[in-house]
């Protein structure tokens, strides 16, 4: 079920009503929310509901054992249970997401003969997100950061539909108290929620879809047949498209959760205003980068050892972060570029470079890496660079509107309080009926300006 569809609108009207009607009765509420989330997930493929239920059951049971062993003073047993749960989650992820990739590479290593059979499984939507959340739960339990959640609470947490398929990656420490404590039904932050949903829909349906269909898809499907200017604009266009797409999804997810009485963490904070790669990763997909930092980079040793160890840890973390997005060499290269750039930033002496120069370099490293992220294959990515380097020819795809849109989207990253914030403030101060009607009018405008048919969110594939 995609957010920008009528089906989701109807689904959410029912869920909103049931949520607030049953909230005073925790057992009924949790059952209803779990049922709604499973229905939402099963809308794509009902078979994968069993996969989600397995992830819930196995991680909750492991979590209970971890807490039990820690309570009994058996740290080693608790660690074993944590490792078992993590291995189980990685096996789940590995079978569905990585098995065929490694099987093919292994086969090609031995002359193209299929050494092990290929599974050719359909990738379950959101598997990368809910397995990472599950892993953070068992690790945090082992670290003593959180207490074990009751079974139903954990099931609601892991399956919670607003963030189930494309994040943000919400940790148990953030969700458990919100599940446990009933929010005030007299004060639903409707103005902020409507604003977030409209803003997210606008970014996705209007900006992201327009950029994809007008420039980006054409450029990346056949870079050699376009002028160097068009290809360059296509690369910048993809940087804005993926930001609009993913941050748009996050806005909708946060807004939807807010209407149900939940507050999710921030996932994007004007990432293209970053003056360094380090800053970029504090602003882009924040819940993933903080996950990688807390559960991978720091356990690997972080920056506590020798310089060489720190560089190794950065590279490993970013390469694995790249692989998290998908099982292709392009994602590995994308991660490698970011890892190398982060390492080089650490290596260079802290000179006083002009902020504009730092921004320019950072933004273009990010765009350079996006080419590998977006291209179908390594050779396609190289075709894009070749096309940029070719002699300028006639411009076909780039319009004045496209350039203005990209410039506006980029410049908006530098204003902490944009017009969007003004809209939120204005909407929040209106009467509730005005808010609702403004919301409806906003939906009409978005549908009007959006193209016919909207592609699935980019991050659904991860």
């Amino acid at each position: 079920m995609l957010f920008p569809t009528l089906a989701f609108g109807l689904f959410f009207v029912v869920v909103f009503l049931l949520n607030w009607l049953t909230r005073p009765h925790p057992l009924i509420w949790k059952t209803v929310m779990l049922g709604a989330s499973l229905f939402f997930y099963g809308w794509w493929n009902w078979r994968f509901v069993f996969l989600l239920l397995w992830a819930i059951t196995s991680n909750w049971m492991a979590g209970s054992q971890i807490a039990k062993q820690l309570h009994a003073g058996s740290k080693q047993l608790a660690r074993n249970w944590m490792r078992t749960a993590i291995v189980g989650d990685l096996v789940l992820l590995g079978v569905f997401k990585y098995y065929d990739f490694f099987a093919v590479e292994l086969s090609n290593l031995f002359g193209g003969k299929t050494a092990i059979p290929l599974l050719e499984l359909t990738l379950p939507v959101g598997i990368s997100f809910f397995t990472f959340q599950a892993m953070s739960y068992v690790i945090d339990l082992h670290r003593g950061v959180i207490k074990p959640m009751p079974m139903l609470d954990f099931a609601v947490y892991l399956s919670f539909f607003p963030q189930l398929v494309a994040g943000p990656i919400v940790r148990a420490a953030e969700m458990a108290p919100q599940i446990r404590n009933q929010p005030d039904p007299r004060r639903v932050a409707s103005g902020e929620a409507f604003h977030l949903i409209l803003r997210g829909l606008f970014k996705k349906v209007v900006i992201s879809s327009w950029l994809a269909s007008s420039i980006v898809d054409d450029v990346f499907s056949n870079p050699e047949s376009h002028s160097s200017q068009d290809v360059l604009v296509g690369v910048y266009g993809y940087a804005i498209q993926i930001y609009a797409d993913f941050s748009g999804y996050t806005d909708i997810a946060i807004g939807v959760a807010l209407l149900l009485g939940f507050r999710f963490p921030t996932n994007f904070d004007r990432p293209y205003s970053a003056l360094s790669l380090r800053e970029f990763w504090k602003r882009w997909h924040i819940t993933l980068s903080s996950w990688l930092r807390d559960y991978l980079y720091i356990p690997l040793g972080g920056n506590r050892g020798r310089q060489a160890d720190t560089y190794r840890n950065l590279l490993l973390t970013m390469i694995l972060g790249g692989l998290w997005h998908g099982s292709t060499w392009n994602f590995v290269i994308w991660g490698l570029i970011h890892g190398l750039a982060l390492a080089v930033e650490r290596m260079l002496p802290n000179r006083q470079t002009h902020p504009v120069v730092r921004w320019f370099i950072t933004f273009h490293i990010v765009c350079f890496a996006w080419v590998f992220f977006r291209a179908d294959s390594l050779s396609s990515a190289l075709d894009v660079f070749r096309a940029i380097g070719s002699s300028p020819s006639s411009v076909e795809l780039t319009s004045a509107f496209a350039v203005l849109l990209l410039a506006a989207m980029l410049m908006a990253q530098f204003f902490p309080y944009s017009k969007s914030e003004d809209v939120k403030q204005w909407l929040s101060k209106q009467r509730v009926l005005t808010q609702g009607l403004a919301f409806g009018f906003g939906l009409v405008l978005i549908d009007l300006f959006g193209p016919e048919g909207v592609a699935p969110f980019i991050y659904f594939q991860f």
Binding site: G9, V13, F16, W20, D100, V104, N108, G112, T114, L118, E120, T122, L123, P183, D184, R187, V188, S190, F194, L196, R199, K203, N222, S225, A244, S247, D251, I254, L259, R263, P265, T266, D269, R270, D376, S377, M409, A412, Q413, P416, Y417, S420, E421, K424, S428, K429, V432, L433, Q435, G436, L437, F439, G440, F441, L443, V444, L445, D447, L448, G453
Partner: protein, 357 residues
């Protein structure tokens, strides 16, 4: 646009908020407003759905809503918006092109003219590759033009084909996919009209067509009757549509028309339906010397003749040729198909030299 909206640590830091009941009513009011203003679009979308209970239900729901909204003049903002954005241009274009089809000598009477049904061609005839009869001198100013038209399958190989074809400066190729389209539902997209327009405006030297992925559904006749898919009457009607498209594309004698069959599909049911459609395409192509049917099953099946996502390439390396949806071609699959199509075009002796430089 900035995103720092969820940084407040508390739910309602400024005390702003409304009771859930009122939020529900206001949200529903907003949705009703949006639905009423957009009701014409929603009804049109419902009518485009494949013939099914879901379509009947959707149309039954949206029809009265649209009628009430239209009566109350609630749909005018959307109508005005569409007009200002030029959204109604497609419909105008299609209606104009229908008239052109009527005037096209090949089609005879009207756009759904019944073409004569002949016996299926022999296997030898199927192997024939259409070729240009005259040999004009192709140049950069007067290139050999190729158009690739079809549904979303074309989206995944069309641009690759264009890039490969245009490696010769003497060739100009265009790819024009229309997602979710086909020959079953001209109410969604009128391919005969579009093909006629392309032929009239551009007079391409070769046309590559690929349809079928969305066509295994019930179809509506001109008199409004729904025909259940794969029944005898459905097949008769669908054959007419294939024939019309083939004849429109062939046009003047000598144009190369390649009809690309559906590749094997991962889902058994879908694959079986595509096989049935392929039989119809093969059969209709066989009746027309100007049309060559290209079977993709051998190209995209493994040693056992089954669907496979990964297949060995010419150097024996396993390559992913299909997307994870089990339907569309991947980048590499698109390259394979494009190479096959170019090889097919090169079979015409007059054209082999086009890519020789």
């Amino acid at each position: 646009m900035e995103d720092k909206t969820a940084t407040e640590p508390q739910m309602h830091p400024d005390g702003v908020g409304f009771p859930a009941g009122k939020v529900f009513l206001s949200g529903v009011a907003g949705l009703i407003l949006a639905v009423a203003v957009n009701s014409s679009t929603l009804l049109a979308d419902a009518e485009r759905l494949p013939d099914s209970r879901s379509r009947s239900l959707s149309v039954a729901i949206w029809t009265p809503i649209e009628e009430v909204a239209s009566t109350l003049k609630l749909t005018w903002p959307r109508t005005v918006g569409d007009f200002l954005l030029g959204r109604d241009e497609d419909e105008v274009l299609i209606s104009l092109q229908r008239e052109q089809i009527g005037a096209t000598p090949e089609s005879g009477k009207d756009e759904w003219v019944v073409l004569s049904v002949e016996e299926e061609a022999s296997g030898d005839e199927l192997e024939q590759t259409p070729s240009v009869t005259s040999g004009p001198v192709w140049s950069a100013e007067n290139p050999f033009t190729i158009w690739v038209l079809g549904d979303s399958m074309v989206q995944f190989f069309g641009e690759t084909f264009v890039a490969m074809a245009e490696r010769s400066a003497l060739v100009a190729a265009t790819s024009e996919p229309k997602l979710a389209s086909g020959l079953s539902r001209p109410d969604y997209f009128d391919w005969p009209a579009r093909i006629s327009a392309v032929i009239t405006a551009h007079d391409p030297d070769a046309v590559i067509l690929m349809f079928g992925g969305n066509d295994a559904q019930n179809i509506k006749t001109d008199d409004g009757q729904w025909l259940e898919r794969f029944t005898a009457r459905w097949e008769e009607e669908y054959r007419k549509r294939i024939a019309l498209v083939m004849d429109l594309a062939t046009g003047e004698e000598g144009r190369i028309v390649l009809w690309v069959g559906q590749p094997p599909m991962r889902g058994d049911g879908f694959d079986s339906r595509m096989r049935q459609l392929n039989d119809l395409y093969r059969s209709e192509a066989g009746k027309r010397p100007g049309v060559k049917y290209l079977d993709l099953r051998s190209l995209f099946t493994d040693e056992s003749g089954n669907y496979a996502r990964y297949l060995p390439n010419s150097s024996g390396k396993l390559t992913d040729v299909r997307l994870t949806d089990g339907v569309h071609l991947s980048h590499w699959g698109g390259e394979w198909l494009s190479a096959l199509l170019l090889d097919e075009i090169k079979k015409s002796p007059e054209l082999d030299g086009l890519w020789a430089e």
